[in-house]
């Protein structure tokens, strides 16, 4: 490598760093992205010129094919598809690094024998391994997000054992490859083994943990590039790969903190945890069904009650949950008794107060409104309906803000992009820490397709997947209007006690787009 090549590499790396730091502000972000892209372009042109491969026509054909496919995909994609698209692109980058690893290991495309053959063999094999894990892992993640394959965590029999074996065999492949260079069978075997490992690792991660998996894979694809760069001793590649690797890791950390989960528990324990929760959840709903049946009939248990079955279900529950259930039952009975005591006269009074306050009337009076959007809003394609509602409220003089939970959507910052698509100015989007204290002072909160991120059970329900996760303090608000599709528990499978609150909660169930349009029209 000549000195001017070295200087150019350093300059380009600095340009990339500058480009990324410009992405920390909305105003400069577009230019930052262009600067990074420009640095990449110069890097490609310089590589073609300096390595003296101007006359190799195959590279131009390949670049044009890739550029056409990539540009077309970028143009066609919708914002809601962003997570799977990023995962897919990411995987392809990893795959390219793995292929470069194979070529370097086979000493294809080298002008002379390498100076440090052991280092080159080792990094080439490592590039194959990390690249293949990224490729297959990302494809699985993209498939899950696009609902091509089942999004739930999947655990095969002896899953951990198989994963462990594949990992050990992959390491063995890297070691053998480091010692014996230039053997295509060792390279292909490692490709296969690490690919299988990538599959086993990604298939057991569930949809709610996907944002974290994507940012981890993003980090890995950078690392794969950096290692491939070490194998072919290209400083530019090593530098950019290192930056990408670090950024992905940092984002992963931020996400983990926002969800109150450790990385290891997501990669290893995600599916196992769900399993232990499932039976008691079932028992809980059974008890809840029993409780609700008392509303219609006068007695709690009648001759139709299957005591044996109930006992069996109760056996499944842990002591604490059992106590909770008993408590709920007693409360229910007390409530019923009270209702009976109050007699029939109380009933119309309740109906009257309900008539006075409708979601539309609450919003008509509100001077300060916070909107909490969730992934359900994106699924219902209700972004524009949300914008209309916000416009109408603002036209009437209300102050409208949006509260965005860090893990709302399917990747970090996904919700911001979806709202930006609907022309909602980014100054109105507030992060959780910035707005959480304002919920108790606001007039009304409108929840659209969000559940887990505002579930107050996260503070109390020990042992559930969301316990300890920081949530939006929607429960503090005096009036809450919930525009969700249904009242089913969200992805985490924990019921939201907010929906059962007696005062100030209005449920507008159904398709968010339609409910919002109706609501907007009703506001006077």
């Amino acid at each position: 490598m000549n000195w001017y090549q070295l200087v150019l590499s350093i300059l380009l790396s600095l340009a990339v760093i500058g480009g990324i730091s410009m992405m920390s502000k909305v105003k400069t972000a577009v230019k930052g992205n262009l600067l990074s892209a420009l640095a990449m372009l110069v890097g490609v042109v310089a590589t073609i010129a300096f390595s003296g491969v101007l006359s190799a026509w195959t590279i131009y054909v390949a670049i044009i094919i890739g550029a056409l496919i990539g540009s077309l995909m970028a143009r066609k994609a919708q914002m809601i598809q962003m997570p799977q698209l990023v995962a897919l692109f990411n995987g392809l980058g990893g795959g390219a690094s793995a292929l470069v690893g194979v070529m370097t290991y086979m000493e294809w495309g080298m002008t002379q024998a390498p100076e440090y053959p052991v280092f080159v063999n080792f990094t080439a094999m490592l590039a194959i391994a990390v690249g293949m894990i990224t490729l297959i892992g990302s494809l699985v993640a993209a498939g899950k997000l696009a609902r091509i394959i089942d999004g739930r965590p999947k655990v095969y029999p002896a899953h951990s054992l198989w994963t462990m074996c594949l990992l050990l065999l992959s390491v063995a492949g890297i070691v053998v490859g480091t010692i014996y260079g230039g053997n295509i069978w060792i390279a292909l075997a490692t490709v296969l083994l690490t690919g299988c490992f990538g599959f086993m690792f990604a298939i057991r991660v569930g949809g709610a943990d996907m944002p974290i998996t994507i940012s981890l894979l993003n980090s890995l694809s950078g690392v794969a590039g950096a290692i491939a760069g070490m194998a072919i001793s290209d400083i530019f590649l090593v530098a950019v790969g290192g930056i990408v690797g670090a950024s992905g890791l940092l984002l992963t950390q931020i996400m983990c903190r926002a969800m109150n989960r450790s990385l290891m528990s997501i990669l290893l324990g995600g599916a196992v945890k769900k399993k232990t929760v499932a039976p008691s959840q079932k028992a809980k709903t059974a008890v809840a069904a029993q409780v609700s049946s008392t509303r219609d009939g006068a007695t709690i248990f009648d001759e139709n009650t299957d005591f044996e079955k109930l006992l069996e279900q109760l056996n499944d529950m842990e002591v604490k949950q059992l106590l909770d259930a008993i408590e709920a039952l007693t409360k229910e009975v007390a409530g019923l008794r009270e209702q009976l005591a109050q007699g029939v006269t109380a009933a119309p009074a309740v109906a009257n107060t309900k008539e006075e306050k409708t979601p539309a009337s609450v919003l008509s009076k509100a001077k300060d409104v916070i909107i909490v959007p969730g992934y359900g809003m994106a699924l219902a394609q209700a972004q524009h309906a949300v914008k209309q509602l916000a416009d109408k409220l603002e036209y009437r003089g209300a102050n409208v803000r949006f509260a965005i939970h860090p893990v709302a959507g399917r990747m970090p910052g996904h919700m911001n992009v979806l709202l930006a698509e609907a022309d909602i100015p980014y100054e109105k989007l507030y992060e959780m820490q910035a707005i959480n204290d304002d919920f108790k002072n606001t007039d009304a909160v409108v929840v659209i397709g969000a559940n887990d991120v505002l579930n107050p059970a996260a503070n109390t329900a020990e042992g559930t997947p969301i316990y300890g996760m920081p949530v939006l303090a929607v429960a503090d608000a005096p009036e809450v209007i919930v525009c969700n599709f249904d009242l089913k528990p969200g992805y985490a499978g924990v019921e939201n006690p907010l929906y059962k609150r007696e005062k100030g909660v209005y449920l507008c169930l159904g398709d968010a787009k339609e409910t919002l349009m109706k609501l907007t029209n009703e506001i006077q």
Partner: protein, 96 residues
């Protein structure tokens, strides 16, 4: 180039990257991730050099198959990644 220099460059860039990224607000995390993603396609530089040299030094058909495939994959990553990032960032700035 000496392996130690390469490893040192990697470590330095990792640390620098870590600090730059921590300044980015969560508002911009999706475009940031997709921009990073585009940058991870930098491996295209390596793929081009290897494939080109393999072509000129007649390393055989398989070298070309692997190399061309590597360039195509990396190019999709680069063009797709930068393209979609640009589209997203423009949405944030639409009003101005």
């Amino acid at each position: 180039m000496h392996p130690l220099i390469l490893v040192a460059v990697f470590v330095v860039c990792t640390v620098v990257g870590y600090f730059i990224i921590s300044n980015v607000p969560s508002l911009l995390h999706t475009p940031l991730m997709s921009g990073m993603n585009a940058l991870s396609g930098v491996t295209i530089v390596g793929a081009i050099a290897s494939t080109g040299i393999a072509y000129l030094s007649d390393d055989g058909l398989w070298a070309q198959v692997f190399g061309v495939l590597a360039i195509i994959l990396a190019a999709i990553n680069v063009f797709g990644g930068f393209g979609i990032t640009h589209r997203m960032l423009r949405m944030f700035n639409k009003k101005k």
